[in-house]
């Protein structure tokens, strides 16, 4: 490549040498470390641990799943019924007929993806400014950002409702999304990550003439991939489950997300049939779990990809 090195296209070949070395070494060594010192005893203990984890954590989950396939009269029986008899799909049918389930799903997807994208972008650029740029009052600004985590939403909703209603944004997606888009958690997480990067690599890239945005995209981000994936996952989960604000903002299934919609399966003055509620819980969980399976692979790939390339 003939691009001048001053502000040249900093692709992998042209990464400062220390950066390249550091990355390759870390990546390859990490992979090695995972397999290295494992005698058969360690392995056995590892598997035993996994079985224990599955037992403790999965049993309540399994119970939710079972309940979603039980008939109404079989949910509350003594002794507890460990396998639905008969297995019924009725709860899932009721879930999709008694409430406009797929409208809620659509709204959840819109709200979650828009809010998550906004939060991830804002979180990364805020964290970058707070960790790798120099400006006066940096730590004050940082404190202002994380102190936002200390404000419970019970006290912000009334005042925000007033503001958003005056904008005429009640029962609209922007009315739900924009007030949720500010990000304190992600800024904190990513700043922490960026600060933990080896300083010699950053400095080397700088000296190599990488501009600040290039530094972010080509050096800082690739080395922060696992944390970014974790940030994305947690953000998606939180937005997917957001309840109080969307409930106050939405009027009906034109904007209300799933957590709000599922509550209409409950009977507020009488006997609730929990089967469809559990079915709704299971279906609401599935897309996020699929995303997790996909992203947690990315978490590792991000690192090993660099190693393979160089």
């Amino acid at each position: 490549m003939s691009t001048p090195t001053i502000v040249g296209s900093l692709d992998d070949e042209q990464l400062p040498q220390t950066a390249r070395r550091g990355r390759r070494r870390r990546a390859s060594h990490h992979a090695e470390a995972s397999t290295h010192h494992r005698g058969p005893l360690w392995t056995a203990a590892g598997y035993a641990g996994m079985v224990l984890v599955v037992l403790v954590i999965a049993v309540p989950l399994f119970w939710i799943l079972l309940t979603s396939f039980k008939e109404r009269g079989d949910i509350y029986v003594r002794p507890a019924q460990w396998w639905p008899d008969p297995v019924t799909g009725q709860n899932y049918r009721e879930l999709t007929t008694r409430i406009p389930f797929f409208d809620y799903v659509r709204n959840s997807v819109i709200i979650t993806s828009a809010t998550s994208v906004a939060k991830i972008v804002l979180g990364v650029i805020s964290a970058y400014a707070l960790s790798l740029l120099r400006f006066p009052g940096r730590s004050v600004v940082f404190l202002v950002v994380i102190a936002a985590l200390m404000v419970p939403n019970q006290i912000t909703v009334i005042s925000n409702y007033a503001l958003v209603a005056q904008l005429g944004w009640r029962n609209t997606f922007q009315g739900i999304i924009i007030p949720l888009a500010g990000v304190a958690f992600g800024t904190f997480l990513m700043r922490n990550q960026f600060l933990s990067l080896p300083g010699e690599i950053i400095e080397a890239a700088r000296l190599d003439g990488a501009g600040p945005m290039k530094l972010l995209w080509r050096v800082v981000m690739p080395m922060s991939w696992p944390t970014l994936v974790a940030f994305a996952l947690i953000t998606v989960v939180n937005e997917w489950n957001e309840y109080l604000w969307p409930f106050l903002m939405s009027d009906d299934e034109s904007t209300a997300p799933l957590p709000v919609g599922l509550t209409f399966l409950q009977n507020n003055d009488g006997v609730t049939n929990w089967g469809p509620v559990m079915a709704g819980t299971v279906l609401a969980m599935l897309p996020i779990l699929v995303l997790f399976l996909f992203l947690q692979r990315q978490m590792i790939k991000g690192l090993t990809a660099g190693a393979v390339k160089s």
Binding site: T43, R134, V151
Partner: protein, 320 residues
């Protein structure tokens, strides 16, 4: 002003490689104004959102904490410090603060320790670890309200799993919903179960990104597994541990859904009432929004102080 803030004190020279080329333009002199404006540009959207939707309501809340505002009233009369005086003098304050402390300390301690353990375990190359990772993460995905309902089937004194399991070994199940101590235990366990996925994922990400060369160096030195963990791994995870100790604490203190669905703050009125639940209860149930605002303000101040102390502690640890 320091010329390069980004250079950590611990920066070591590149391990044996040739020194990097010296960058051409003298960035540092012109960099400042230019860096300031870039920082402002990057921070502004986020700060604006936080100021408008978090700090504006917070300031409003602090103002209202000095009034007798009834949630449905258009009018709020200033009452000076009387809400604050009332809070410090009231009997239930002690119980609520104690509940909050017990709940928070237990959830922070246990979910961080177990989350780290799980991350270490599932960082190993074991067959089926992807599935197990998903299982650990799954409870975090379910909304707090749904978990509260699902755990009714775990803790219900008549139909619950716990009762069922205890009955098999001939032990009677406590009534988790009616005895205050057990009720607090129940919401704590449920909360930890739900949020393990969070500490787990953050620790796992940190493990994936760690510098394994240090591990190896230690191994070559013949250090035992425990020493490696303590001397090599934990220091590397320190920023993550610090981050989690703050975020888990802040979110535990603000638990609402699980308590609202499982116990509504009961039994016996405030058996599982924590500070945030009290804010809700006073504001929306007792309609004393002014007093609710007072509790929220006190909570904010406490959290701010605790966090600042944590940050200090972290800084001191770094220098040591």
């Amino acid at each position: 002003m320091q010329s390069s803030v980004t250079q950590p004190q611990s920066a070591t020279p590149g391990s044996g490689g040739p020194p990097p080329e010296v960058g051409p333009p003298p960035r540092r002199s012109s960099g400042r104004a230019w860096e300031w404006s870039l920082a402002a540009l990057l921070l502004l959207p986020n700060l604006l959102l936080l100021i408008v939707f978090t700090y504006r309501p917070l300031l409003d809340n602090i103002r209202l904490s000095f009034t007798d505002w009834n949630i449905s009233s258009p009018i709020a009369n200033p009452v000076g410090l009387s809400n604050y005086i009332e809070w410090f003098g009231r009997d239930d304050t002690k119980i609520i603060v104690r509940n909050t402390l017990v709940f928070t300390i237990a959830t922070v301690g246990i979910s961080m320790a177990v989350g780290l353990g799980l991350a270490l375990l599932l960082d190993q190359k074991l067959r089926g670890r992807n599935l197990v990772r998903s299982i650990v993460f799954a409870p975090f995905v379910i909304s707090g309200a749904a978990i509260g309902i699902a755990f009714q089937f775990v803790f219900d004194p008549q139909f619950g799993l716990v009762r069922d399991l205890l009955a098999r070994i001939g032990v009677a199940s406590p009534d988790f919903y009616q005895e205050p101590g057990w009720a607090l235990f129940m919401v704590t366990v449920t909360y930890i179960w739900k949020n393990l996925g969070y500490t787990f994922v953050i620790y796992l990400a940190a493990l994936q990104g760690r510098r394994a060369d240090l591990d190896e160096a230690a191994e070559i030195d013949g250090a035992t597994a425990w020493t490696r963990f303590r001397r090599v791994l934990m220091p590397q995870l320190r920023p993550t541990t610090f981050f989690l100790s703050i975020t888990v604490l802040l979110s535990s203190v603000q638990v609402f859904d699980i308590i609202n669905v499982m116990t509504r703050g009961g039994p016996q009125g405030n058996g599982t009432t924590t500070l945030v639940y009290q804010v809700y209860q006073e504001t929306f149930v007792n309609q004393r929004a002014g007093y609710g605002a007072t509790v929220a303000t006190i909570m904010f101040v406490i959290l701010l102080v605790v966090t600042v102390v944590q940050v200090r502690f972290m800084d001191r640890g770094k220098q040591a």
